[in-house]
Subunit: 195 residues, 2 copies
DNA sequence: ACCTGAACACCGTTCAAGT
DNA sequence: ACCTGAACACCGTTCAAGT
């Protein structure tokens, strides 16, 4: 139970979040923190008081997006869709967001990289759980390869979202990327290439 | 035909390359340029004279690695292996290097991202060509999906190499990652999931 | 309790002065 | 022709002083 903030503190907190969101989409994840503080009309110390690290700031900025994605996973799972379809649909939502929001991508990338920082693993925990249930259901329906783990699937999606952005030709084609990824995820027994 | 450098210039050039390679593997792609200059025993201006941008420096540091990979692609293509196998084997070599050498990964990532800078597209041009021939042969043998483009394949490999490093559990498993990618690349007609 | 902004450390880049 | 290193701009982070 977070004790209520003083009025001015809360106002600064919200201004910072708003300006940070703007800065991250405009200038990328490495946007100047000093700039964010200036635009929010507060001293730089205030920013650090509220958000000790850049990751903390990222986490708060995108907390809602992450929650929405987790909600959607639960919703898709209960929608009556075939489990494989539910997973595919959700992965598409995830990939779309990862491509659109660079900050979210950096945040989840860090979350999957170490998973140590409590802030980060905390905010991505629900997401991982929800994704895991979608995957389990798909596996049981024979729609996903049996040896695929949740973390692995999320890492791969993350990677594909990055690859999509590397493509110079116009806005990245989410579907195309997912086709490539999913047809791998499905698994097959044609092995014209082997390792 | 690059006109020969003055003796001291050449010595500094080589010292810089050596220290840069060290710094990139030790501290990542964002290693301090000033530090590199200091360790090489030259002024920072000298570094900028030889390598106007960080990309230029990266390009020179990893030029040999890129050439080796291109050579290997040609060699595998002429080795008598089934075309699908030749492609798979080469992709494994590529992925291994991308995972091992962070600097090379950053460089090729940039090369595939815009492909504009002459230095970058220059050094990666041979690589792309060689990879393209391997892919074409594999396609004609029915070992690779018909709609897959070379740039797309390389971007995907790059992405998969990044995903591999996100895994916290020990050294990244190249083979595992490639299995996931290749079984997607091969294409199949089982579509338990669809988009 | 919270905020401000000066101060410090660090890095990239340029350029006048030196050889 | 090439090198040096001081100078400048910029950023992150801390902390003493203020309310």
């Amino acid at each position: 139970m977070p004790k209520p903030m003083r009025a001015d503190a809360r106002r600064n907190y919200e201004r910072l979040l708003k300006e940070a969101a703007l800065a991250f989409t405009e200038h990328g994840v490495d946007a100047s923190l000093d700039d964010i503080a200036k635009r929010a009309g507060v001293g730089s110390g205030t920013l650090y008081r509220h958000f000790p690290t850049r990751q903390d700031l990222l986490g708060e900025v995108y907390a809602d997006r992450i929650d929405e994605l987790a909600d959607q996973a639960v919703e898709f799972g209960a929608s009556g869709r075939p489990p494989g379809q539910a997973l595919a649909d959700w992965l598409q939502k995830l990939a779309e967001q990862l491509i659109r929001l660079r900050g979210l991508r950096a945040l989840l990338g860090a979350a999957m990289a170490d998973g140590s920082t409590p802030v980060i693993s905390g905010c991505s925990g629900r997401l991982t759980d929800a994704a895991g249930e979608l995957l389990t259901a798909a596996r049981q329906a024979g729609a996903a390869r049996a040896d695929l783990e949740t973390a692995e699937m999320l890492r791969l999606t993350h990677a594909v979202a990055m690859a999509a952005e590397l493509g110079a030709d116009g806005p990245p084609d989410v579907r195309r990327c997912l086709v490539l990824m999913i047809e791998g995820i499905c698994g097959d027994d044609r092995r014209a290439m082997s390792l």
